[in-house]
Symmetry: C2
Subunit: 345 residues, 2 copies
Amino acid sequence: MSNSSPATIEDVARIAEVSIATVSRAIHTPEKVAKSTRLKVDQAIAITGYTTNAMARSLRLGRSNMILVVAPDIGDPNFSNILIGLENEARAHGYGVLIGHTQNEPQRGLEYLKFLNSNQAAGLILFTGILPFGHRAMTARLPPCVGVFEPVFNGGIPYVGVDDAAGARKAVDLLIAEGHRKIAFIGDSRTKLAHNRRRAGYDAGLDAAGIPAAGRIVMEGDGTIESGRLALEQLFMRDDLPSAFMCVNDQTALGVMIGLKARGYDIPGDFSVTGFDDIPQASFMTPSLTTIRQPRTAIGKRAMALLLEMLSDGTSAETETEILLRPDLVVRNSVAAPSRQWAAR
Amino acid sequence: MSNSSPATIEDVARIAEVSIATVSRAIHTPEKVAKSTRLKVDQAIAITGYTTNAMARSLRLGRSNMILVVAPDIGDPNFSNILIGLENEARAHGYGVLIGHTQNEPQRGLEYLKFLNSNQAAGLILFTGILPFGHRAMTARLPPCVGVFEPVFNGGIPYVGVDDAAGARKAVDLLIAEGHRKIAFIGDSRTKLAHNRRRAGYDAGLDAAGIPAAGRIVMEGDGTIESGRLALEQLFMRDDLPSAFMCVNDQTALGVMIGLKARGYDIPGDFSVTGFDDIPQASFMTPSLTTIRQPRTAIGKRAMALLLEMLSDGTSAETETEILLRPDLVVRNSVAAPSRQWAAR
DNA sequence: ATGAAAGCGCTAACAG
DNA sequence: CTGTTAGCGCTTTCAT
């Protein structure tokens, strides 16, 4: 053990007194090798501590057994649980997962493109909303690829995520059932597909409740805590306040709640707030946040399953597949009936 | 552009009407190639969109230009900022970063060990506390390796992090200056080296203040939110309450604050709380958390710089180097003088 | 300044 | 059932 350089297939062959081809077979197609030979090889492997040089193997095969997960922001509170789903599914099928972090810089994306071009990864999972290396057409020969968590904007890439519209609808419906009529939506429905769909759920809910478009407040917000606080400030400045804030995600909701508390308001006494995602912090905020839960691990699992299926089928990534999982409403303490000031109007 | 399979060095050679050796030289040692030739090669590269097959290159060279960052828990709120430091420094030196996630399972570590054995990574950054693949001696031929954020328990591996003892000392000193005499420490000082050092800072501070060991309360807690809440409950059960909680990290502090609020206490009116790390949420908690800031990006940068230095020096990873960065006290709203009930005693 | 050729470690025909 | 052999795409002597 503990030699200067790792054992190669040749070392194993020498010790087992067989050819390197036989070693390779003993490993990958043991049924094609005599039991006695297999035994000798196994022993030699144990002695040398041999592990296949994945690089040489991949070079030879023209493909690897690694899946690259590209994420623009690894700090996203949704990421880690989705990743666990991805990893476990991959592992169950003999694949490993590597994570690439682009920090939202396209330059960084190119780095991973090179990685892919070298067949260092067999497939690609895209964690948010965009192809990190320019438009699809430009990059041509991408391996099979699946988008997760947020539909991929610029390329017909299969997608696994939550049913955003249905989820948002559950949130509005709750608010409406509590008696709210003036409900603000905060999110970036122009750039982000997921936000857009949540917005659609919001509109559908208000339509169904017979609330005219004129009575709706829609604020821009890119989904950060800051964006929530900002949107709130603008609303106060305009003096056009809703009784409830339906935020496109939990971070935005947190921003809104911070702003509201800073102004001395009580939640849900004075204003109701809902989020979307059910990030881990959601249950620790004060008040705890009523929100829509994403089945994150399940999403990861399904996305990886789809990718692996494409890999074995040789299916092109051009499919317009979308797998939408059911979002659940999580009722906590940030929603109540509108305050009297609203009932009066 | 957009061919069925990526261009190889041979494609480039053919178009440039030179040998593949020349192409390789034109790329890596342009000064050894006639200017005219270099031009032809550059053009051919542009035409074909050629990028070096990193796998073939690494196989030939016996080393890659990727650094593997292994993290047991990617959801750690400290991780993403350290990662950014690591990545930026790596990139500045022509290296890429790949992240491996072990979910705390040793089995998963082995996967990445294989990756390393195949020379798919030139170096290794360990993100928390342990060698994820059993004891050092067992695994023999690891590439250069640097621990970050938490000292590596089981192997003389160089380490870059914050000065835990000094940081903890700043926290106790603040508490003592505010008038606290009975200060509880919550953390896992037996298993986790970082916790252990913070504990040392706590003890040193109390020693300096002349508070006898008998007057100290030390609770076990592994650093999760839950552990904070749990430790608090135990204290209430014992009816042995401090006036201030010095938590080993911000998550623990959050757990303590949640528990305290659930019991109807006011922070910092009834109890003071301090954390350690200054995770992003720290400023959003209510009250905002007084804590010790880790210079995360700087830590990442230094760690990567050290690793790259080892890589070029060929230095062994056996060095006992420790680079300790200065932690800063961040005063927010979770600390005040002890309540009257304490002054009375 | 350039080309020919060896070989990194491995797998998959193809023979035997 | 097993061995021989040809590369995967690249870098690097060694000649020229």
